[in-house]
Symmetry: C2
């Protein structure tokens, strides 16, 4: 009859899980403590037992996102930098960020909600975004940059753009494609479906980074890439 009585840690996690979609979809100011309490099935008073203020709850949510993203960086060391890795990485970036594919299946952080929290942070002071990028994205960036350097050394890539920027630009395109698809009706009148759009964005990025058409022809093999990303997927999901 009565709602289950949880331990402090469990209740804390349950409150965060309930708060996530609310803060993500409505933003900080438009989300009320009453909404969160109702969604979590507890009283507002209990929220304030676990979090000193609404603001603290919001910040705890950001920490929660960072901690639960850590699983992704465990397998970086096993991947060798190369032109092929670069191509596969671009494919992975685009698919995971834009199409929300190939992420950890047990990830408690919904991809759309995470995206919304990030954009909300960018409209705010950017603290959460910086924290996440520093802790979770930079390890990958090191691998990506090493791969780009390797591609350059192999003569597969034209010069003219700082190595890291080539990958940031790819990343930015992926994020913006995701953001444009956040509203129920996509704001951009693209002439194709999301999957084709993603594939074209991969090609755009590979070319944009300066990869030669011949290097792209050699390394951009969709079926091989699917195998590669599937392997990552399985490594993340033992």
């Amino acid at each position: 009859m009565n709602p289950p009585r949880l331990s402090a840690d469990e209740r804390r996690a349950a409150i965060l899980a309930a708060a996530m979609p609310l803060f993500a979809v409505h933003g900080f100011a438009a989300t009320t403590t009453r909404q969160i309490a109702d969604s979590a099935g507890v009283s507002e008073a209990l929220l304030y037992r676990h979090f000193p203020s609404k603001e603290d709850l919001y910040m705890a949510l950001h920490e929660f996102c960072c901690v639960h993203a850590e699983v992704f960086s465990r397998f970086i060391d096993e991947i060798k930098p190369s032109t092929s890795t670069l191509v596969h990485s671009v494919y992975y970036i685009m698919n995971s960020i834009f199409l929300h594919k190939q992420n950890h299946p047990d990830d408690p952080v919904n991809n759309e909600h995470f995206c919304r929290l990030m954009i909300n942070s960018l409209l705010d002071d950017g603290r959460f975004a910086r924290m996440f990028i520093k802790d979770q994205v930079m390890p990958w960036m090191d691998l990506w940059a090493a791969s780009a350097k390797s591609a350059e050394a192999a003569g597969d890539m034209n010069p003219g753009i700082a190595i890291e920027n080539r990958l940031w630009f790819t990343h930015h395109l992926a994020v913006m494609l995701a953001v444009n698809h956040l509203p129920e009706t996509c704001v951009i009148p693209y002439a194709c479906n999301a999957q084709n759009l993603c594939d074209e964005a991969v090609l755009f990025s590979l070319r944009g980074m300066g990869l030669t058409e011949s290097a792209i022809a050699t390394h951009y093999n969709p079926s091989a890439i699917q195998l590669f990303t599937k392997k990552i997927f399985e490594a993340l999901n033992p």
Copy 2:
């Protein structure tokens, strides 16, 4: 002594001008009618004389942005589609959206505020973003797409990506660069300053669209482009 008594139209515009930075920076929910009234130097009651509700005021602000952007589309017909126009357009997109350069000097809509309103719309239902894109961006897109087709016909561009998407991707990169720079501290640890970043993003986009290295070498002449954009700038500011 007393504050000046304005006509209904003038007061309405003054209220919108005061509301703009508040809604842009803090978002709809976190902006109070009291803040707007104080910033406009009037009572809250007067706000509700001019706008039935806070929501209506917000929507009026969106209309205001669209109307005041119309000046930009007046000179489209004078520009001929070509590879050169395409290159110049990419440069223009990147500089106007990311670096906030080459816009109309009398534009009452601050570029950063406009960017924030757009992103807020994307986190919401996207209505404002769709309206602006349809009315203000699509006329340009037609010119850009015609230029890209012209470049393709001239043998300057490799195939593989839908024509419009090449320019949307360029646009998205520009927007995301702007968004990453919204917080006081940029969220991405770029290894260069904003001007270099913009130049590199132009090169990335030209390559990404599939322009050949030789076409880029022929048409991407920074000093000639500065002249071109200056001409647009002057046309917009007679």
